[in-house]
Symmetry: C2
DNA sequence: CGGAATATTGATCAAGATCAAAGCGAGTGG
DNA sequence: CCACTCGCTTTGATCTTGATCAATATTCCG
């Protein structure tokens, strides 16, 4: 199944109109990074729309302008592992492989800058571009390796780590906007939805955070949170 | 603390003699990849010798010629997460970062090809080399992301995955040589030593593997093992 | 042969999963 | 405008997996 951006383009209009609906406004997820240095086409994706699927040829890479994206893989029996979340300003799909290993989906209605990779197979001609791709892949590697330490951590530590990481890549403020549902967080951390929810409640009881709505979390005591993150 | 290869060189002679001892012979871990295409110095490291430490400046990258290497990180309370193992033919330390995020150590007496990175900051001059570095970092990324799926897996699945992965990067034969102790496997998979040992025994009882000695495992039924790997 | 390090096996315990029910909130239609 | 519904979240009760604690067995050395 080919689901790369070209396929998506058939539905762009419908999706774009969906984007304009009132429900789209996601405070805290406006574009923060300059996108002008990233030539390509702007495309819109509905909530849960597939951006590319496992085994698709890797013809494009992407940068989130507005919204949020998850990359994931489903095991034979339905368990799902989320490999990464991408927020505005972050690039993804920069791996050098020809076939996608994870599929990616929009978590909320999102706008992505899409760049075709075959315009990049002139990579050898443009060491600068090559270097930038390498740098992006390297960032991805750093984050993946950082996440491997989750294997050694408890549920509390995993959730605390998640909140702090999300805080680092979002704005500096104490109010965190959580674009993804609890199930996504669970599949990202290797826990169940229920455990994530329980741990968040515990952290609230301990006055480390507060949860005004389930999509908003206030970090009340980042130092203590960092201590619990291991 | 600076522990890059230059520091190590002080001890090279002593280590090299250790390497020559009879105990060094590690069947199945001879050099399999050509190293001639990898200019650099050959250095020897004792068992458990530090190759570089967390926070060291990243001045070199490496390729295993003989032996086995682990890269790891220790949490504040002593828990350890192993990020990767490197076997003969595999390169490591190719991240673009300036400071090391993980430390690396020789698991058994090892010989490494060491290449200084500052000879590489002429990267822009050599797009071919840049491309090769990118390719290596990309391989590292693939493996790290693959390993993230461990978070969703049970102990049996983790151990089965480990055995198959080790088999993939070793020779084609059914006899697997395990250079690392059980504790390393445990810290790699996010389990305890005891659980690793128990699961291996279970797999042996189920006739999927046999364990002639604790450093040797025979894969008796790879298809079934793959099924258990999730 | 002997002793230290590493591995295996057993018994118990606890963290997190599972199963189940209730609560909440946003969008829909009467 | 309110009630209804559907999807998501929270909370509770119980169970299972893997951790922990402890003893024994191997292996690898000098």
């Amino acid at each position: 199944m080919l689901t790369e951006a070209l396929y998506q383009s058939k539905h762009t209009d419908r999706r774009f109109s969906a984007l304009k609906s009132a429900s789209f406004r996601e405070p805290g997820f406006e574009s923060r990074a300059p996108v002008t240095d990233f030539p390509g086409m702007l495309r819109s994706f509905d909530r849960n729309a597939l951006i590319y699927a496992e085994n698709d040829p890797a013809t494009c890479f992407y940068r989130v302008v507005v919204g949020a994206v998850r990359s994931s893989k489903v095991l034979f029996d339905g368990r799902r592992q989320i490999a990464a979340f991408y927020l505005p300003g972050q690039a993804f799909g920069v791996e050098l492989c020809t076939k996608r290993i994870f599929s990616t989906e929009a978590i909320v209605p999102s706008k992505l800058m899409v760049m075709r990779r075959n315009t990049l197979h002139s990579e050898h001609q443009d060491p600068d571009l090559l270097h930038r791709l390498y740098t992006m892949a390297d960032g991805e590697l750093q984050r993946a390796q950082h996440r491997l330490t989750l294997l050694a951590k408890t549920a509390q530590e995993r959730v605390a780590t998640f909140l702090l990481d999300l805080n680092d890549c979002g704005e500096a403020g104490e109010l965190l906007h959580i674009p993804m549902p609890r199930q996504d967080i669970a599949d990202y951390l290797g826990l169940t939805m229920e455990t994530v929810s329980r741990v968040l409640s515990q952290l609230q009881d301990a006055a480390l955070i507060s949860i005004p709505t389930c999509k908003q979390i206030v970090l009340r005591n980042r130092a203590a949170l960092r201590r619990r993150a291991g």
